[in-house]
């Protein structure tokens, strides 16, 4: 379990996908008839179809941040758009808190979007004719909220994302980072509990991106939403994710915690994908520690299981004997030997 884990296995999942397919092309339906499992990409191509999402099944629990990542064209956006029903999935079932999303009629869907879902777009998708404040108040007004009320609420949202003082600017008068703040504020205005973000920071330059990620983490700390976050930037995924889904040509290759993805790649593709990741910056002590071995003689150094390896690597490497790993209550939960650290960090082999 990752330390930030808000995964609460017992509850009903907030989002549940069961064998979701999205196939573009006219003969999509016939291609699917009678198939089970994954669709062969070549067969699809022959039929003149493009496979966007191929048999995706997963669950997202309340308060969890699932990052969907993969190369360009791997179907990340398509999956997200299926779950927000901006496109209709070709087949499969999607449940939002147990409700069948694909069976909803227009009215129900509208209500769902007006109260439960928020979405942030890669190129912001702001209304150019409205000011910052009006943009943020827009979803509230669509719900039928009074202008005065919606504007005062929009003001709070603007403040939340640090846009105070720019309420009367138009989107074109803002920098990219500021525009995306508007996008974020707008998507949060209706207080949704499900938050979709489709590459929200990839149109921004690296410095601003870093800043926005921090901001995003801060917000999530406060708001604790259920989040689907699309990105093709692995560093970003590692910084933010509770769990990561790696997609390739529409197929979810692996869906797991960042540590497991790095330490136990399910496929060759995932392994290649994670090869160059600086592990010491990602992994925590608990990801690599060995279970407590009573016979072992430990050194005096104790390290917390939640620390990133990089921060204590030097200290551990200087110890002749294994160091003890403790949890928040100072109980011994494992041990870690210097050679093991070296092995994990620099060896290409998996943890043994």
């Amino acid at each position: 379990m990752p330390s930030r884990g808000r995964t609460a296995g017992e509850e009903k999942p907030v989002i549940e996908c069961r064998s979701v397919y999205k196939i573009f092309g006219r003969h999509a339906k016939s291609l699917l008839d009678g198939t089970e499992g994954f669709i062969d990409a070549d067969a699809a191509k022959e039929a003149g179809c493009i496979v966007g999402v191929n048999n995706a099944s997963f669950e997202v629990h309340a308060g969890e941040l699932l990052v969907i990542m993969g190369l360009s064209g791997s179907g990340k956006s398509t999956l997200l758009r299926c779950i927000s029903r901006l496109t209709e999935a070709t087949a499969g079932k999607i449940f939002i808190e147990g409700q069948d999303l694909l069976a909803m009629n227009g009215r129900q869907l509208l209500d769902m979007r007006r109260s439960r879902m928020g979405m942030v777009f890669q190129n912001f998708g702001l209304l150019p004719h409205k000011t910052v404040l009006e943009n943020i108040a827009f979803p509230l007004q669509m719900k039928g909220m009074k202008t005065r009320e919606s504007v005062s609420r929009a003001r709070d949202m603007a403040e939340l994302v640090g846009l105070q003082g720019r309420e009367n600017y138009f989107p074109r008068e803002l920098s990219g980072g500021q525009q995306q703040r508007v996008g974020i504020a707008r998507s949060l205005a209706v207080e949704p509990d499900i938050w979709f973000l489709d590459e929200p920071f990839s149109a921004l330059d690296p410095l601003i991106r870093k800043e926005m990620q921090d901001e995003f983490l801060r917000l999530q700390e406060v708001l604790n939403k259920t989040i689907l976050f699309v990105t093709h930037d692995f560093d970003e995924a590692l910084r933010l994710a509770d769990r990561i889904a790696i997609m390739k040509e529409g197929i979810i290759e692996q869906l797991d915690t960042p540590a497991s993805i790095i330490l136990q790649p399910a496929t060759e593709y995932v392994r290649k994908f994670t090869q160059d990741v600086p592990r010491e910056k990602v992994l925590r002590i608990e990801d690599v520690m060995n279970p407590v071995d009573e016979t072992e003689e430990l050194s005096d150094l104790r390290v917390s299981k939640d620390l990133i390896i990089e921060t204590v690597a030097e200290a551990i490497l200087n110890q002749p004997r294994p160091v003890g790993v403790v949890d928040a209550d100072d109980r011994l939960v494992g041990s870690l030997h210097a050679s093991h650290v070296i092995n994990v960090l620099f060896g290409t082999s998996q943890r043994d």
């Binding site: 927000s84 901006l86 509208l110 979007r113 777009f121 209304l127 004719h129 404040l133 669509m142 504007v151």
Partner: protein, 686 residues
């Protein structure tokens, strides 16, 4: 790769021209020879149209209508009732707007009756003093853009008033104020419909094409037949003409709304209508408002022509002046039209580019400042007019309304200028005129008329084939076939010769001027400004100065259309050359090209497609002007169309002729546009 393709194209054109020349020489010019002229298979088309219309009007779908005067039901054809209802509604609205500005009693009568009015004389509504309308125009100009536009509005309104053209100007304005909103609403509606429904778009497209290339005259006859004569008929003709650009621009704007904005709207919980009116249309606002601007311009362009079917106002006065060769008066009226056009153009553009900007907390006064000021101006103007009634004699209250033709006039001056020009340059002008007609125009006309029909087809379709492929060739073929099967092939050739002569001259001049101007930043701006300005002139205005110089001859028409068509030629050349991407320019500079080399090797090839689009416009403009020129006497299709207006069976003839002209334009359009757009894509210029 590129070299052999180019040379293959060159060979293609070589072969094409040889075949064309051979056909011209070999085909025997006799009416029995189908290679020379096709038989007029469509001869009956006008009559079929006429019969259909008559049938529609007088027989189709009879319905029972209650008539209150005889207190009984009468059988009337549905269609005619519908057109009548439209007519009377429009007329009522136009009158109402007109009476708000000029005073009157018709609107009130329409809801009451004459006896009531006679008993209550206070119901006679007075005109708005000219100072009020002028004040409003200035205020509007100021609010929309600033002092510049306010000054322009002030100058224009004062000019109109001082020169005694207030009444006809307001008549024209009232007509625009009715026709333009109707066109805008119609265009917006159709545009939205086409956006939502692909089938509608597909169906609308050819209709819009034809509507935009049909000469104005040809609408007039059917409109008269269906709606009668008067301001309402003129308004309807105007609406038919002004709506297509609005539809086009609405559709364009809606299509350009980024997908993400639409999706954001959906995710923000917009319903269907909310999405349309709160996301799509506002986001497309700029294009939509440019459409509004186009509508206003088209309406003004129609004022003169609309006077043929009874529109009152500046247009009809201008016609009268031109008909009686009162050039001075003509110039004054023409200037009025131009000024009104420029003011409305600038105002609607300023509106399009204006950003709505509202702050959350405004005081009552701030929020209603505009209304308060409008009312203040109204009160002040009325007071002034009232004061004026003590100063000036009855009927000549200059602070109320400057009576028609009682203002100052410069007509004698202009007349003198014309006379002087005639006296001084008589031989030069006459010589030029004669030279042009006998040495250039007539030989050219004979050349065109000497073309066998098969040769024309080979030339046009061959060009289309070589440039765009089979599909284009076939489309062009169908357009030409229609003309060839109608009775009007020879007339069409004359139209084509006049148009192509003007287009050639205009294109050459425009290209040279445009290229020169594009070399310098300042010159570029000036050139574009002048083009903008000239483009707001209603086409008819171009005829005034040439009539002044050359009288009523073919030369006048040709020169007017040369000047008119030169505007797009110049503008597109400048735009094309200027839009060559900076990177490519710099790459050129770094490869050490000289200025001339850069122009020839880099700028022209890249700008060529855009310049060709300009040529396309030039052709349409030239064609339009040639047809309008019929008004001052030519022998082409335009003349026939004009004739059809006074022909009781003119509907069919007018429409058929209109289609002929439209098809000439569309054939050229098809060839050039397809080519230019493909070429632009190839060059990656978007």
């Amino acid at each position: 790769m590129a070299a052999p393709r180019i040379s293959r194209k060159t060979i293609g054109f070589g072969v094409l021209f040889s075949v064309f020349l051979l056909l011209c020489l070999l085909v025997n010019p006799s009416d029995a020879n189908w290679l020379w002229r096709l038989p007029p298979l469509l001869k009956d088309l006008p009559f079929i149209i006429n019969d259909t219309v008559q049938n529609l009007l007088f027989e189709w779908m009879p319905i029972e209508v209650y008539d209150p005067t005889i207190d009984d039901y009468e059988t009337k054809p549905l269609f005619r009732e519908v057109t009548r209802a439209i007519s009377s509604t429009l007329l009522l609205i136009i009158d109402a707007v007109r009476e708000v500005m000029l005073g009157g009693v018709k609107t009130i009568v329409a809801f009451t009756d004459w006896n009531f009015i006679n008993e209550n004389p206070w119901l006679r509504w007075p005109a708005l003093p000219w100072t009020v309308i002028t004040g409003w125009a200035i205020l509007l100009g100021y609010r929309l853009q600033g002092t510049g536009l306010a000054a322009l509005a002030a100058f224009s309104m004062v000019y109109v008033s001082v020169f005694g053209q207030w009444e006809p100007s307001m008549q024209t304005l009232s007509f625009v104020l009715v026709a333009a909103p109707v066109s805008v609403v119609l265009g917006l509606g159709l545009g939205i419909w086409a956006f939502r429904n692909r089938a509608v778009e597909a169906a609308l497209n050819p209709l819009l094409n034809v509507a935009q290339t049909m000469p104005h005259y040809s609408y007039l006859v059917p409109v008269i037949v269906l709606f009668g004569v008067g301001d309402h008929a003129a308004a309807i003709a105007t609406i038919i003409f002004a709506t297509p650009p609005m539809v086009r621009l609405t559709l364009l704007g809606l299509k350009n709304v980024p997908a993400e904005v639409v999706e954001a709207g959906i995710m923000n919980g917009c319903g269907r209508f909310q999405l349309l009116f709160r996301v799509l249309v506002p986001t497309a606002k700029r294009d939509v408002l440019i459409g509004v601007n186009q509508v206003v311009m088209q309406c003004l362009a129609m004022t003169v022509i609309a006077s043929f079917i009874g529109a009152q106002g500046l247009g009809s006065n201008l016609m009268i002046a031109l008909n009686s060769l009162k050039v001075g008066t003509g110039i004054e009226i023409g200037l009025c039209i131009v000024l009104i056009a420029v003011v409305l153009d600038r105002m609607s553009l300023a509106w399009a580019h204006k950003q709505t900007d509202y702050f959350a907390d405004l005081s009552f006064f701030e929020r209603h400042r505009l209304v308060i000021m409008l009312v203040a101006i109204l009160v002040a103007g009325c007071l002034l007019a009232w004061a004026g009634s003590f100063i000036f004699e009855e009927g000549r209250n200059y602070l109320y309304i400057v009576p028609h033709n009682k203002g100052i006039t410069t007509a004698p001056f202009w007349q003198a200028a014309v006379d002087w020009t005639w006296d001084t340059f008589f031989f030069t002008l006459k010589g030029f005129n004669e030279f042009l007609i006998t040495k250039v125009l007539f030989p050219m006309r004979d050349l065109y008329l000497g073309m066998p029909v098969i040769a024309t087809f080979v030339l046009m379709m061959g060009t289309a084939f070589l440039l765009d492929g089979v599909k284009s060739a076939l489309i062009v073929g169908v357009f030409l076939l229609f003309i060839a099967f109608s009775e009007y092939w020879d007339r069409a050739l004359i139209t084509a010769y006049m148009a192509s002569f003007s287009v050639m001259v205009a294109a050459v001049v425009g290209l040279v001027v445009g290229t020169l101007c594009a070399q310098n930043r300042l010159a570029t701006r000036v050139a574009l400004l002048v083009c903008d300005f000239l483009q707001t002139f209603p086409s008819f205005i171009y005829l005034i100065p040439v009539i002044m110089l050359f009288g009523i001859t073919d030369t006048s028409v040709i020169i007017a259309s040369v000047v008119y068509a030169m505007v797009p030629a110049t503008r597109y050349t400048v735009e094309g050359l200027r839009s060559v991407p900076e990177v490519i320019q710099e790459a050129g500079t770094m490869s050490g090209v000289s200025r001339m080399q850069r122009l020839v090797q880099i700028e022209f090839p890249l700008a060529f497609p855009h310049i060709m689009l300009g040529l396309n416009q030039t052709v349409i403009f030239g064609l339009f002007m040639v047809i309008i020129g019929a008004f001052i006497g030519t022998t082409d299709l335009g003349q026939l169309i004009l004739g059809a207006i006074s022909d009781p069976r003119g509907t069919g003839i007018g429409l058929t002729l209109g289609l002929c002209v439209a098809f000439i334009g569309l054939a050229v359009d098809q060839i050039i546009r397809t080519w230019a757009e493909r070429r632009k894509k190839e060059l990656d210029l978007g």
